[in-house]
């Protein structure tokens, strides 16, 4: 039990981070804190993908030192980390940065309208103005 926990520590850390982010998104009243939670949540997934590309000991970055070896047709894949999750996560990071940008812009709009970022205070302001929230 303990051994398997130790062996897969990267998965446990990713689950822990993800749950911290999820908690912040759902439970925090402050909108900026929600965004921070969202970012932790996304980063956990990035770290999970990256950790899957690791292969035991002695592997290195996938840069071919001997181009003639590559042209010969065969590259020993066990010497190199899997590059695909890294590439996928570069794309995912771009997507997440864009999400963060849109979320912050929307929070700016909210602040200009209500002059607060607390969710319950905004609901109170809207109720005072006779609007449904």
């Amino acid at each position: 039990m303990f051994e398997s926990l130790l062996h897969h520590y990267n998965y446990w850390m990713f689950i822990g981070l993800m749950m911290i982010g999820f908690y912040a998104m759902m439970a925090k009243k402050n909108l900026i804190k929600k965004i921070i939670g969202m970012n932790i949540f996304q980063s956990a997934i990035i770290l999970f993908f990256i950790s899957t590309s690791v292969k035991g000991g002695g592997v290195t970055v996938p840069i071919l030192e001997h181009p003639e070896g590559a042209q010969g047709g065969f590259v020993d894949v066990m010497k190199y980390a899997n590059p695909l999750p890294h590439v996928l996560m570069l794309t995912a990071i771009v997507v997440m940065v864009a999400t963060l940008g849109v979320a912050l812009a929307v929070v700016m709009m909210i602040y200009k309208r209500y002059h607060t970022l607390e969710e319950d205070e905004i609901a109170l302001i809207r109720r005072k103005q006779g609007l449904k929230c």
């Binding site: 999820f22 998104m25 909108l31 929600k34 969202m38 949540f41 996304q42 997934i45 999970f48 993908f49 899957t52 695909l84 999750p85 996928l88 794309t91 995912a92 997507v95 864009a98 999400t99 849109v102 979320a103 812009a105 929307v106 929070v107 709009m109 909210i110 309208r113 905004i122 809207r126 609007l131 929230c133």
Partner: protein
Amino acid sequence: MLGETSILIVIIPLISAALTPLVGLAREGLSYLCTITALTLSTLASVHTLFRVLTEGTVHYGLGGWPPPFGIELVVDPLNGMMLVLVSAVGLIVAVYSYRGVEQELTGRMVYFYTLYLLQVTGFLGILITGDLFNLYVFLEIASLAGYALIAVGEDGAPMACFRYIVMGTVGACFYLLGVGYIYISTGSLNMADVHLLMKGLYDSKVIATAIAFILTGLAIKMALFPLHVWLPDAYTKAPSAASALIAPLMTKISIYVMIRILFSVFGISLFVELFPLNRIMVWAGFAAICGGAVMALAQTDFKRMLCYILVAEVGYMIGGLGLANAIAIRGAILHILNDAVMTAGLFTVAGIIMHRMKSHRLADFEGLFQKMPFTMSAFVVCALSMIGVPPTCGFFSKWYLIHGAILARQWPFVAALLGSSLINGILFFRVIEVGYVFQFSTPAHTHAGEGMNRMEEAPLSMLIPTVGIAVAIILIGFYNQAIVKHIIDFALPKL
């Protein structure tokens, strides 16, 4: 002669989205023309691709010349060929319609609106056409991000509604990404066809079960399946009318398409029906969505909000139909994707016209609308009859297949929910029609003195023609439903 048109469907709106702000610098109106041109070309390309698919079979296109399991591949089969035509056509029609609404509601921001509009359509078309799981995530996020921005610029309260949507939508997208990660770990591939082949030996793997759970939950958030629908009514009610006319009909349908693609083309039908009780869960989720959506719709006093809850109920039709897992019900669910997108587009364009003229979408402000806008309201009646499911309109036929399939599967609660929801739709829409007519009887003072009140104030032609066009399309799809089912949908059905 035309060569490869499948890639053009996505590329043209994408490049035009970059061109639109440049063209818009010179004159604002040019951005509108740029959007219309791009979407017209994209629609033509998707129609051409659909005909090619129907004559020659599935079309494959390897991006950058990489062979499929390694590179990203575009795949068009009858199912997504039909969806591509549907989405690009609805995108085009709503774009033509949107000009006056954008001019009024988003004064001075037209260039940005059309840039985002094109990105939104690019995202939708990309989701449909791609044959790669990760690429699908990227397009899903392009569509969602453009959607967040379009919704946030709506009326008062829209930013807050949009913020909730961003938080929930991001969770949905991340769940999908995580599920894709699990699939990648266990199969080592991201190409849908390749994953399907590699999956065969892994059906009892717990990792695959987790992947299914994550992907389906993520998609359920994106499609606003009943308990996860809370972001939808606020966001779509407060969005600008042109934006809601584009996003509301298409986003939910496209998520359902993705679910069909993942369940049938990636995981395979045997996993779906035999190994998990997934189909029963889906029928009950559909049942809950229909009941919940219909009951909530009854409580609304706002027209657009009522439409949003009807949309939630409609999602239940399709999810339940897929869960019934017999050929007739799935045929009904796929036909309903087509029908519902057209009907919802019609209803939201009507809501936009009323917003344009009356500056409101509350039901109480609808008095006397039939006299003011006879053509708009006739289009509304056609859409409403189709939603209820009255025979010559297209809504009847997909409901017929769904009910027939539910009876074959002996899912009586689902049959009852389908019939009950039709009745509730009847109540909802006749309430609107009643408010629209009742004015002339309830206030006789106006008939003598207030001649001005009964003057015709029909919508501008650029809004009216697309709306009436959608109403005509509803009736035409109804008449030609046999042809659509026979030539397109029957090829899209999974082998049962």
